[in-house]
Symmetry: C2
Subunit: 445 residues, 2 copies
């Protein structure tokens, strides 16, 4: 997929440069909405707009829904009210749920007024759940029959147009409460007049609308079914989450984790306006600057020592970076463990012991290596001794921090993927510089 997209971008950009309008049209005719969305995101804003205007009216919503919200907003911001109104004609609830992330409230209301009543009520149902909950992401492409229906009713229903990923017929009682699900494959061996209630598959998991959306998605992915039913607290059927939606939710969560490690958002636009992008990144740089000044302040306490033994200043990056790298290894392992639920109070002590042992082992190993190199470089056994001890202290401190910091952040409901590494490097910088320069003052002066 990635390679195909790259080729598509090359083809499109080349064609635009040589003004072959037909290429864009053939791309738009052949590719799926998902790929056109990725293509749009890959283009600088002017080219993005030019391509957008070539997309046929009836395909625009589908493409827009597939886009990340930042690049999507870059298009919506350029649209006239009439253009938006044209998008809103025949819009369904699921699409509006996705688009509403990028629409100001007054436009959401405009879109709602253009919707039929059924879709509007679906949309309002979804809005009752925050966007990190399962109930927000249900679709309504389900085959529903009353609880007392017979096999022949199901067969009649299945002879009409059947939605994608339909493996199940949902049974619902008069008040809309979910009463069971029947696999359509079990219909083949059933008698026409048999009640569907007898064929209900008890093993089908039912998701609560208030369940975390990513956890719900993972349940769907490991369910051996193409979709699972979602119900509200009263047991009313809200809809389903299918494997396509589940895959999107899980991918977004992973991507968000990856981007968070650099203080960015999953929705970050590759070609965001410079000012917007600079502003969003400045915050992260500012936080980092505070921690860097903290490290400088620690060094500042030892100015007199450095003045006398400049070798200490030369070697500072070695101490800081060995701590930072070994800490980030532990941190990454623990963050994954937390995400999977594998790190808990019950095994924390054992984990700390193991990571500290690994740190102790690597601490001793690299302390020796670095001491020897330092000895030959600066021809001073004492400087070698100082850096060796500092390395050992810092790598052990890094191991402890790598376990403790993400666990504490997780307890405080702060995403460790976002702030874990900033806090960790602050600790390893401060501990490293303090140990190294402090020992230097004690031993070398």
């Amino acid at each position: 997929m990635a390679e195909e997209l790259s080729e598509l971008i090359e083809e499109f950009v080349e064609a635009e440069a040589s003004e072959q309008a037909a290429v864009a049209e053939s791309i738009l005719a052949e590719e799926e909405a998902e790929d056109i969305a990725l293509l749009l995101e890959s283009l600088p804003i002017n080219e993005r707009l030019a391509l957008w205007h070539k997309i046929p009216q009836q395909e625009r919503v589908e493409v827009l829904v597939e886009m990340r919200s930042d690049p999507r907003e870059s298009l919506i911001d350029q649209m006239q009210l009439e253009e938006l109104d044209a998008l809103f004609v025949g819009l369904n609830a699921v699409d509006l749920v996705e688009l509403s992330e990028s629409l100001p409230n007054r436009l959401v209301e405009r879109a709602l007024r253009a919707m039929d009543e059924q879709q509007r009520s679906y949309f309002e149902g979804a809005q009752k759940y925050a966007d990190d909950l399962a109930g927000h992401w249900v679709d309504h492409d389900v085959l529903i029959l009353p609880t007392n229906a017979k096999v022949r009713d199901a067969l009649r229903l299945l002879r009409r147009e059947v939605p994608d990923l339909t493996e199940i017929v949902y049974l619902v009682n008069r008040s809309g409460h979910f009463s069971g699900a029947v696999k359509i494959t079990s219909l083949f061996s059933a008698l026409d007049h048999a009640p569907l209630a007898e064929l209900v598959d008890k093993d089908i998991e039912i998701l609560q609308g208030s369940l975390d959306a990513v956890e719900a998605a993972q349940e769907v992915q490991s369910s051996s079914l193409a979709a699972l039913p979602v119900v509200d607290e009263q047991g009313k059927l809200l809809g389903r989450i299918d494997v396509v939606t589940a895959a999107e939710l899980v991918s977004e969560a992973f991507e968000a984790q990856l981007m968070a490690s650099a203080g960015m958002d999953e929705d970050e636009d590759l070609f965001a306006p410079v000012l917007k992008s600079a502003k969003s990144r400045a915050v992260w740089l500012g936080i980092n600057l505070l921690t860097a000044f903290l490290a400088s302040w620690v060094i500042g306490m030892f100015e007199a020592t450095i003045e006398q033994v400049v070798a200490l200043a030369v070697l500072m990056p070695v101490v800081a970076s060995m701590g930072g790298i070994s800490g980030s290894q532990t941190l990454t392992l623990i963050i994954r463990g937390l995400a999977l639920g594998q790190v808990t109070g019950a095994n924390l002590k054992a984990l700390l012991k193991k990571e500290l042992s690994v740190g102790g082992f690597n601490g001793v190993l690299w302390a020796i290596v670095i001491s020897v190199v330092t000895y030959f470089w600066f021809e001073s056994a004492l400087i070698g001794l100082v850096i060796g001890i500092a390395i050992l202290i810092n790598i052990c401190a890094a191991a402890i921090s790598g376990v403790v910091i993400p666990v504490v952040l997780d307890k405080l409901k702060v995403d460790p993927a976002l702030s874990g590494s900033v806090i960790l490097t602050t600790v390893t910088d401060v501990v490293g510089f303090f140990a190294f320069l402090g020992l230097g003052s004690l031993i070398l002066l």
Copy 2:
């Protein structure tokens, strides 16, 4: 899922501590193989072995298959030959494909001898493809009929036991070549004696066995089908990849990317033996040490300058870390773009221009802030000037490196998620120290 698992671990560890054997048994009886696998991975090695031995024989293979290969090996290493032989009884090809990652060759051969011929040929078929290709990961739970079969043949087949995630009947000609797929939902409205060939759904995508496994998985996830057929170069049906397998492949790829950023493996065991873990991490620390010494060497060139202006040594971490952080933001954005196929030769120049503009903007902003702070801290306008220029240079260099480094690595077929950030920080350290101390020598001495 994550929270449930945490509770499970707590419950299990507490029960073991108070010797309530019944708790482990009830966990094993109630939980699915996937959760038991995660639980095993979350336990230190002795507890892990104790729980393993309580798992009923007939469920062991399923649990083992769900585990990551490192922790799985920790169990296999402890097994006697008889215990392994018991696992191999009735083993199917798909399970052996997964287990063979953690089994020495002689054990794979032992397992193959215990298999029936059909499964052995499936296994050999899968081994023709490397483990990063789609053909390696097919399963064989497909309903197959001859190309000339009728609707009633399909209905007869569907009245028997139907595999999970079955939406499709596959048509295959006499020589095993795939000739089309029929959705079972289209059978409901068809006549009994109609030929299946007339109902073939032309829109169903067919995957090549030689396609990259993760790309194949993504195709399955966005296909609106619960599984897609996989064929070899001659068009012979190899099997299918379903959404459950696809979700596992995609999650593993994401996890591998996350772990690679700290120089680790997706299969890393939370409770790996200390020595093994220390060894695997030492390599990464060693590579990092070389780059840290490179930075030290740059600083060493300016020893005389530092001796006279110690403030430079104090402020070094600020210059290095502002470069490192802003570079890692660009790097992360580009790595995601490369993974999605959104960064290509065609938009590289535009990206470079945009990132450099963002860098220039933040460079000027933070240069001013840091200059002012430095001026008040060290009461020297000249030191403020020096650090300001150095910050601007380093943030711009970081922006360029953040784009160029991952693109070049990708061209060289090296994973930018693995080595991108080490190379980037080397560049920002070297450029930062050189600019800062070099300017210091020119302006301050």
